[in-house]
């Protein structure tokens, strides 16, 4: 039996509500190998963010198990870098000090951390805002700061929940490009939630399509496009085929 980098085994999740409880995740299983880039798409409110909360140890599954390198990380924190859907920047820290938060928590000296972060601020278009408080940032800028904070946390496995949702297409493409570069360089394993089918196809090795709530894995679509991928492949035929396929799957919901 192979051990996967990240494996979900029959994960269930129920939430209590004002009136009764209801199921959010139903029997989710996933196998992700080291270095894979895997996306999840699914209807709004199906349970994607919930799944990330479970993997990151913030919440615990009602049933099932979550394995990292064959070891259960159910309820365990700190094994993956998680960028939540909301940016959660600390209002009392400048942009620079926000992005080094993860490093600081790992015990890296503040000065070292700042130096490392400053190298990246430019690519993220945040250089001139290093010393501002988050209240002076636009929505997209906040998201970029949150992404940089996640990457700098420097774990092997990244969970990214709609990291580019608030970015214009050009900035988004730049960020996508940069993310692929980082991924290839550091051999991250990435689990990626997006609402953009284009984005899912362009970035991923594999796409999990979730059903409506309670979310089940409706289909797993292999993205057999060659790497490295050039932005121009978006206009290619294979790309369109895959896109069509995913759209159909989602539309059926």
């Amino acid at each position: 039996m192979t051990t996967f980098k990240l494996e979900l085994q029959h994960v269930y999740k129920e939430y209590p509500l004002q009136n009764g409880s209801f199921k959010t995740l139903e029997d989710i299983s996933m196998q992700i190998e080291k270095g894979e880039f895997v996306s999840i798409i699914g209807p709004s409110g199906s349970g994607k963010s919930t799944l990330f909360n479970l993997i990151s140890g913030l919440d615990s599954p009602t049933k099932g198990d979550i394995l990292l390198d064959g070891q259960s990380i159910k309820n365990k924190k700190g094994f993956v870098s998680y960028m939540p859907q909301k940016d959660h920047l600390l209002p009392w820290r400048t942009v620079l000090d926000n992005v080094i938060l993860g490093m600081e928590i790992k015990g890296i000296p503040k000065e070292t951390a700042r130096k490392k972060a400053l190298e990246h601020l430019d690519v993220f278009g945040l250089a001139s805002f290093a010393n501002e408080y988050p209240s002076a940032l636009s929505g997209g800028m906040r998201q970029r700061a949150a992404l940089l904070r996640t990457i700098l946390l420097d774990n092997n496995v990244l969970l990214l929940d709609e990291p580019f949702g608030a970015l214009d297409e050009i900035t988004r493409m730049k960020m996508q490009h940069w993310l692929l570069e980082i991924w290839e360089k550091y051999h991250h394993t990435i689990l990626f939630v997006t609402h953009s089918i284009d984005e899912a196809v362009y970035l991923s090795d594999r796409v999990y399509v979730f059903s409506h709530r309670p979310a089940r894995v409706k289909e797993i679509v292999e993205i057999d496009l060659p790497r490295p991928r050039d932005p121009s492949i978006i206009t290619g035929e294979n790309f369109s085929r895959l896109k069509e396929r995913l759209l159909t799957l989602l539309a059926k919901e």
């Binding site: 998680y82 939540p84 959660h88 600390l90 009392w92 928590i105 209240s135």
Partner: protein, 253 residues
């Protein structure tokens, strides 16, 4: 800065109040030993200046030391209570109880335990001051955004790191509310402490003046108490604005 700068309305109201008071006393011919006019009070103050200074310094010393003691004890207790739910449930009622006991009722005990020196006064100040600080700190710590805390949890932050980076900063405004309330009470606390038995201090000065029916002197002492308390309060307000620069940006209107 808004609160500190531009004192005109306060000054205006105070000056107006004083004038009203002066005229009321002069016109209604209230006896000076019942209600001295502001000018009588100033006169008494000027005449007794060196003696008053002497007593004031002692009272201020007691108030400051007691306040600092209260801050230390309060922060320690707040942390303890916040950290261990056992302590929360156990200490909370005891804290409340400590405030409901009229200090005068246990004056003899305080004397027996702490003697006649400065200590019992400092203890009284600390008793009066620590409660609003504890309560506000605990409430402040609980008001921290749960999203921010979750984020730090995913980074496997220690309890202490979550305190340092999220819960303390978000408790600061509430903590300062508590500190300001405590500061308000601190000098009065010292005076009450002196009332229970002392050789020196504004409390004694007031008591003796009152015994001799020198009401203007009593009011001179009250004036000093009020002014120094407001000074202390304002200082904390300034400190707060220094320590919470990010709040400025959020509070435009």
């Amino acid at each position: 800065m808004k609160k500190i700068k531009n004192h005109y309305p306060a000054l205006l109201m105070i000056v107006f109040g004083l004038l009203l008071w002066e005229f009321f006393v002069r016109l209604s011919q209230v006896d000076i030993w019942i209600l001295p006019a502001p000018t009588d009070i100033i006169q008494a103050m000027v005449k007794q200046y060196p003696i008053l200074l002497d007593h004031t310094l002692i009272t201020l010393y007691e108030a400051l030391v007691g306040f600092l003691l209260a801050v230390i004890v309060a922060l320690f207790l707040a942390l303890l209570i916040d950290s261990f739910s056992f302590f929360k449930r156990g200490f909370y009622p005891i804290l409340v109880a400590s405030q409901t006991i009229p200090i005068i009722a246990i004056a003899p005990l305080l004397l027996i335990w702490f003697g006649y020196g400065l200590l019992p006064k400092i203890v009284v100040v600390a008793l009066v001051c620590f409660f609003p600080i504890v309560l506000n700190t605990i409430d402040g710590l609980n008001q921290a955004d749960s999203g921010l805390i979750s984020l730090l949890h995913t980074m496997n932050a220690t309890k202490w790191q979550i305190y340092k980076k999220v819960r303390f900063p978000s408790a600061l405004p509430s903590l300062f509310s508590g500190l300001r309330i405590a500061a308000t009470y601190s000098i009065m606390g010292a005076v009450i402490g002196e009332w229970l038995g002392a050789n020196k201090g504004l409390g004694i000065y007031m008591k003796n003046s009152s015994h001799s029916f020198l009401t203007a002197q009593v009011f001179a002492a009250i004036l000093i108490i009020v002014l120094t308390s407001i000074l202390f309060f304002s200082f904390l307000l300034l400190l707060e604005q220094k320590l919470i620069p990010w709040a400025k940006l959020n509070q435009e209107d």
